[in-house]
Structures are given as structure tokens and as C-alpha cells.
């Protein structure tokens, strides 16, 4: 029976997993993922879910167990976070190379040291190249829905690729909101049982699985894995179309582009912080600023074409991510810039690194981010004068622009423009004044 419940992201995801009917679940606790495996154990105990629930002794074994189960043709699930994801890292390549359509939830969390249990995206983005589809949820409803769609995509015969669903630690995993839980019958209709034919043990015609392949063969396997990942783009579209038809909720594909058609400035980001970015972009729109938002939903397969299209008319682009690759820039930044460069689009791009180790990305910082983009778009900051990468709250150019212009102001002031000149002031007053605030 379909129902509405007020759940945390972890709980919502567990409901989605239940609906997908995995046959083997390998479970190991780690904050902030633990609630998922706790809820699943209760569902198994209560008989709501008929699955083999395996208490493995490590994350490495969690994914190894899932690989073994998938090799028998069973639908499998596991979940992890942060150090746990890194601990199982070598198994990620086994799962991907073996083309086992395992679904795993990752609670995005900072990586040590310093030890930190709070959210950022350095764990999953560090493993972007390990051959898994990577999706990033924005809210708990999307998280639940992704649990179902993940299996549909991963098990698609053209894809056969494991799927990692990322939920921001705490911001999603431990934040409660209202979610719609579909009925089991509907979920069953959406997601038929996994057919592992051709990639599973077979007692009539035995197989060898997961062998080594020397230099003269290896490239063909890797090329096929690449093709499989590329095919996931189409599989996502197909799954979302069927999902919309079945459940009445539609999703926009690999990216969500908000008001990008005529946008002068666009912020590209991913995960739950897109909520705040969306609000700020809407405020700016209301003030006549042509601001847009690109929310990356899938980092792999990478939506290069969609991003290029969304950014086609922009005069300044920002990339906000809870990640940095030390000595370079944020990984999302690198991917976005690569796509733009291939398309011959030389729009200035600024990388905002924030939210590390659970650090709050404040409204003020978000104002500052968009303000920097406005300044660049208007030619008030020359792109070459703007540092390519900055840490919010440390050395980001956005920090200078984030201060309110009046007490309690919801808008960015411009007094902090380099040199303190008033030429930075936009037509009219700040939003607080415009809305008749105090």
C-alpha cells in the first residue's frame, strides 16, 4: 500500500531497498550509514523482506560477499560510507569489471585525517574512476526512488554495471522529511526480478567467472565496461520514463537544469546543497538577475553533453562541491571544465570548495558565490584576476561578497567589492529592502 511517511534519508533509502527485494544483503555498520542496515535487519526479522542478511566482519567483506552473491544471479545490496568505502575500494573494481549489477548506498562523509564523521563528497568522488554508476540524491524522496531506479539501470542488459547511490551524510541521511513510499505491487511491476543469465554460475553449463586476462585481451573487457557505462545514460532515461508513468514522479535525467536557457550565470553543484542554491537562484531571478542552476545527478556516466548545453549561454559559471583533489581542484570542476573545453566553450569557471567535514555552507556564502559569478559576468572582475579554486570560509573569493548589506539582510551587499567602490552596486536596493523587510 502506498503511504506517506516522515523519514530520515537512511530510513527512506531502506524503504526503497525493501521495495526492490534484494535477495542477499551484506551489512556492516558505519556512521552515518548505519541506520540503513539497522532498518533492513528489522524488515528481514519482521518478514517484510525475504533476504539473506549477512553480518559481514568488514566493508571489504561486505562488497566481496555481494560479489559472490551476484555471481549466483542474486539481486544484492550493501551500504557504506567514507573510510568504509575506501576500505572496500579494491572490491569496487572487481564488481565493476565483473559487471555485477550490485547496488550500494554510500553516505557521503569526510575522509580521515582528521577523523570526521560529517558529510562531504571526498569519499565517493575519490573513487569516481572505479567503474560504478554514481548518482547523488538531493532529498529523501529522490533517495528512495533512486533505490528502485538504481537496480533498473544496473541490471539493464546493455549496462550491467554496479550502481552507487550517494546521500549526503547527515544533511540527507539524518534529516527527516516527508516521503511517499510506493506500494510493493507497483514496485514489483516497475522492477522485475534480476535475470543474471550469462553472468552467473550455471549448473547445467558451468562457467568460470572473474579470471585474469593478459595484455592482448584486457582492452576489450575495459572497452566493453566503458560502453556499458555510457549505455547507462539511456537506461536512466528509460527507467525514469517508466518510473514517472508508474509512480507519477518524474526525474530530469543525468542533470537537472534550472532556468539555464537564458542564464548569464550558472552554478553547477550536486547533492543536497542544490536546495540552497536553487533558492538563491530563484531570489536572483526575482530580482531580474538571469541566474541558473545545474544540479548534477549522475557523475558517472558523466553528463558532458547535457552540461555543455545547459551552460551554452552563460557568461560565468561556478562549480560548488564538497570535495577537492589536493594540488589540483575539485573533481567535479575538472569534469565540468573538460566538457566545456571539448565543446569549445571558454566561459570563465570558478571552483568553490565548501562543506568539507560537515562544514555548513551558509546562505551568506551562497549569496557570495552567485555574486562572484555576477561580477565576472558583468566584467567587474576579470576572470584572470579571480582565483580558479577557493575554499569557502578560508580563501574563496565568495567570502568577500557574502556579507549582508544591512542587518538581517537576505541579499548580498556590495560594499566589499575590491577597492570598496560603489560601482558594484546593482540597480535598486537589496532584496530585504525590496521585499519591505525591517
Amino acid at each position: 500500500m502506498r503511504m506517506k511517511r516522515f523519514l530520515s534519508g537512511d530510513e527512506a533509502f531502506a524503504e526503497g531497498v525493501r521495495l526492490a527485494r534484494p535477495q542477499v544483503i551484506s551489512a556492516y555498520p558505519i556512521t552515518p550509514q548505519t541506520v540503513v542496515v539497522e532498518r533492513l535487519s528489522e524488515m528481514v526479522e519482521e518478514g517484510q523482506l525475504a533476504a539473506e542478511y549477512v553480518h559481514v566482519e568488514s566493508e571489504h567483506s561486505a562488497l566481496s560477499c555481494a560479489i559472490g552473491a551476484s555471481a549466483t544471479g542474486a539481486r544484492t545490496f550493501t551500504a557504506t560510507s567514507s573510510q568504509g568505502l575506501l576500505y572496500m575500494a579494491e572490491c569496487l573494481t572487481y564488481a565493476a569489471g565483473g559487471r555485477f549489477p550490485i547496488v550500494m548506498m554510500n553516505a557521503n562523509r569526510a575522509t580521515a585525517l582528521p577523523w570526521n564523521i560529517y558529510g562531504d563528497q571526498r569519499d565517493s568522488l575519490a573513487l569516481l574512476d572505479h567503474g560504478w554508476v554514481q548518482a547523488y540524491a538531493q532529498d529523501n524522496q529522490e533517495a528512495l526512488d533512486l533505490a528502485l531506479m538504481a537496480y533498473a539501470v544496473a541490471e539493464d542488459p546493455e549496462v550491467r554495471t554496479p550502481f552507487m547511490v550517494n546521500l549526503d551524510g547527515f544533511a540527507l541521511t539524518h534529516t527527516y522529511e516527508s516521503v511517499d513510499i510506493p506500494a510493493q505491487e507497483q514496485a514489483d511491476a516497475f522492477l522485475p526480478p534480476y535475470d543474471g543469465a550469462g553472468n552467473r554460475f550455471d549448473f547445467a553449463n558451468p562457467v568460470n567467472i572473474g579470471y585474469s586476462a593478459g595484455p592482448e585481451f584486457n582492452r576489450y573487457f575495459k572497452h566493453s565496461a566503458h560502453e556499458g557505462m555510457l549505455a547507462a545514460a539511456g537506461a536512466v532515461e528509460r527507467a525514469e520514463a517508466r518510473f514517472a508513468e508508474m509512480f507519477g514522479r518524474s526525474y530530469p535525467g543525468l542533470i537537472e537544469a534550472v532556468d539555464c536557457e537564458d542564464a548569464d550565470i550558472v552554478l553547477v553543484t550536486l547533492g543536497s546543497i542544490a536546495g540552497l542554491a536553487r533558492e538563491r537562484a530563484a531570489q536572483l531571478r526575482a530580482q531580474g538577475v538571469k541566474a541558473g542552476l545545474v544540479r548534477i545527478r549522475y557523475m558517472r556516466p558523466f553528463p558532458a553533453r547535457q552540461i555543455v548545453e545547459a551552460l551554452a549561454g552563460a557568461a560565468a559559471v561556478g562549480v560548488l562541491e564538497k570535495d577537492v583533489s589536493f594540488g589540483a581542484e575539485g573533481t567535479v570542476m575538472t569534469n565540468v571544465c573538460s566538457a566545456l573545453q571539448q565543446a569549445g566553450n571558454a566561459v570563465p569557471v570558478v571552483n568553490f570548495v565548501g562543506g568539507l567535514g560537515g562544514d555548513d555552507i551558509t546562505q551568506a556564502q551562497m549569496r557570495g558565490i552567485f555574486e562572484v559569478l555576477e561580477q565576472i559576468a558583468a566584467g567587474r572582475i576579470a576572470p584572470e584576476d579571480c582565483p580558479r579554486v577557493g575554499f569557502l570560509g578560508v580563501d574563496s573569493v565568495a567570502d568577500e561578497f557574502g556579507n549582508p548589506c544591512c542587518e538581517g539582510c537576505g541579499d548580498a551587499g556590495f560594499v566589499a567589492v575590491a577597492g570598496g567602490e560603489s560601482e558594484g552596486v546593482r540597480d535598486g536596493a537589496c532584496a530585504t529592502d525590496a521585499e519591505g523587510g525591517r
Binding site: 551484506s26 539473506e52 567483506s61 560479489i67 559472490g68 551476484s70 572490491c91 549448473f203
Partner: protein, 306 residues
């Protein structure tokens, strides 16, 4: 029916592999799969037997078999068993069996093995012990015996090879209260075959630790492989034994049983001296090895059933 050379099935499930000539590990795998039924599903981590057995397009297992991450033999076995059972497609005569080397078992794989035993998953774990990391070219593992020269325990002026004692994996496994564990040697295949049959027919986790000489790493002629595997038992540096857990034996804490209790030991010195890896050992060191053997056997004969 007792299995012997005559009654063993003609099947060769492990065949055409690229193991060294005279490889004890390959004999262990070959013999084990002959005892287990054709529906056995095998999992092998990184190591000699997977490296020589799974080279696409030269696939040397005739049964369902797969490769696992190095540390993950036991957890992949768990997954296979759970997956088959969850789908209701596990044949009655299907043994889910793992073959891991000494490093893959006693070092990097010990945690996963302990987890599987703790869960009492219905799997058979076989450790083929050639007493060093042979796949990477003879490096010390925790099952390398005292005095053995490896490429990471060189025999020089200051040290004569491996300085540590062989880890007692059999008793570590038994300490879990596992339903069944055994030691064996490829030099005494009838004993190994009998233990495989027992293990095959018991449910829950089973473990067999089989000594499998590596002529390349041990420094002995290939043709001597089986004889060396007998010698290590005859001289008392390896023992053939079984452990039955509390449920199987009815004894609290389980019961150890010797399969072979030699009245007289063959010469430890002769066993060591016939192998290149022990060449640097002094007579004093050999006496130490012998004393260690005697102490262990005193305990075995006191505590275990003969």
C-alpha cells in the same frame, strides 16, 4: 565408500593449468575437486592457483569457479552460498569451496575466514599451504616456518632465513568452535581424500589445512614433491589431525583427534637438509627445530585423542 585411486572419479576439474611442474598446490586442488561433486562451486583469491588456473582464454576449472579479491576468499564463499540459497537454486550436492594459499589464509584472509566461521556459513575452506607467497616469487608469510629462506627472509651472516615460527592456523580455526577442521598433506592423499569426504558431508563451516610443497620455493627436485610432503609428516614437523566442534563431537569445546601418531619420527635434519631453503641452518638451529617439534608433540599427545 572410501575413496582411493581406484574409486576416484575420472573427472579432472582442474586441468591444463600453468602451475610449475611438480606443484603441490595444484595436486591439492585437483584431488579436492575429484572428491567434491561436479556441482562444487569454487572460489580462489589472488594466489598461485588462480594465477595459473584462470588465464582467459585458458580456463582450467571444469566446474563453476571464480576469482576473488585477495582478502576475500571466505566472504565471497559466503556470498555464493547465500545467493544460491536465497534463490532456492543450490543443488543438494553443491559444495561451495574456497582454495586459498597460506598468505591468503593466515595473513590477509584471516579476518574474512574468521567472519565466515563465526556465522557458521555452509562453506568448505581449503588452505593449500606452500609456506610462503609463491605467486609473487617466494616471500615470507606467517606460515613460513622458522629457518626458511625466502626472498624477504634472506639467509645471510646475521639471519638464517625466517625468524618467526609457523602460525597455528588449525588451532586458531578450531578455537572458533568450527564444526570441522582438519590438517592434511598432499603426501598422504588417502588421508586427505577421507577428510575431504567428511568435510563434504558436514554442514556449516569446514576448514582443511593441507601442506602442499612448492619445489620452486622449497628448493627440492620437482619429482620429490610428494616425498617431501610425506617427509614433513614423518619427521613430525606437520601433523595430520582433525577437530570436531562441540555439536559434531558432543564434547564441550570440541575435540582434537590425531589421524597419525608416529611411533618414531623420521629425521628432522634429513627433512630440512634436502631443501635448499633451509641450507643456512646450523646444527644448533636444527636442534631448536627438533626441540620445538618435541614440545608440540608432547602437548598433542597429552591433550588430543590419538
Amino acid at each position: 565408500m572410501a575413496l582411493n585411486a581406484k574409486t576416484l572419479p575420472d573427472d579432472e576439474f582442474f586441468f591444463g593449468h600453468k602451475a610449475c611442474a611438480g606443484c603441490g598446490g595444484s595436486l591439492a586442488v585437483r584431488a579436492a575437486l575429484k572428491v567434491l561433486d561436479p556441482n562444487a562451486v569454487a572460489a580462489l583469491p589472488a594466489g598461485c592457483m588462480s594465477a595459473v588456473g584462470f588465464n582467459f582464454p585458458q580456463l582450467s576449472f571444469a566446474n563453476n569457479a571464480m576469482i576473488t579479491p585477495f582478502a576475500a576468499t571466505a566472504s565471497v564463499l559466503t556470498g555464493i552460498e547465500a545467493g544460491l540459497r536465497a534463490q532456492g537454486i543450490k543443488p543438494d550436492d553443491c559444495t561451495v569451496v574456497g582454495f586459498a594459499g597460506d598468505g591468503g589464509t593466515a595473513d590477509i584472509g584471516l579476518q574474512a575466514l574468521s567472519g565466515a566461521i563465526d556465522r557458521n556459513d555452509d562453506v568448505l575452506y581449503i588452505c593449500y599451504d606452500n609456506e610462503a607467497y609463491m605467486n609473487t616469487g617466494i616471500q615470507k608469510s606467517s606460515l613460513t616456518p622458522f629457518g626458511a629462506k625466502t626472498t624477504t627472509t634472506p639467509a645471510g651472516r646475521n639471519a638464517h632465513g625466517c625468524l618467526t615460527q609457523k602460525k597455528n592456523v588449525f588451532e586458531i580455526v578450531a578455537a572458533h568452535g568450527i564444526p570441522y577442521a582438519a590438517t592434511a598433506s598432499v603426501g598422504y592423499l588417502p588421508d586427505f581424500l577421507r577428510k575431504l569426504e567428511r568435510a563434504r558431508d558436514i554442514r556449516g563451516t569446514r576448514f582443511i589445512h593441507v601442506i602442499a610443497p612448492c619445489p620452486t620455493g622449497w628448493g627440492c627436485p620437482e619429482a620429490d614433491m610428494v616425498d617431501v610432503a610425506r617427509d614433513i609428516v614423518d619427521c613430525g614437523l606437520w601433523y595430520l589431525a582433525e577437530y570436531e566442534g562441540p555439536q559434531l563431537s558432543g564434547v564441550p569445546g570440541g575435540q582434537f583427534k590425531l589421524s597419525r601418531n608416529p611411533r618414531e619420527f623420521a629425521s628432522v635434519e634429513a627433512y630440512l637438509r634436502r631443501q635448499g631453503r633451509f641450507r643456512a641452518l646450523t646444527n644448533d638451529e636444527i636442534a631448536q627445530v627438533e626441540a620445538g617439534r618435541d614440545a608440540k608433540w608432547e602437548q598433542i599427545r597429552r591433550d588430543w585423542t590419538a
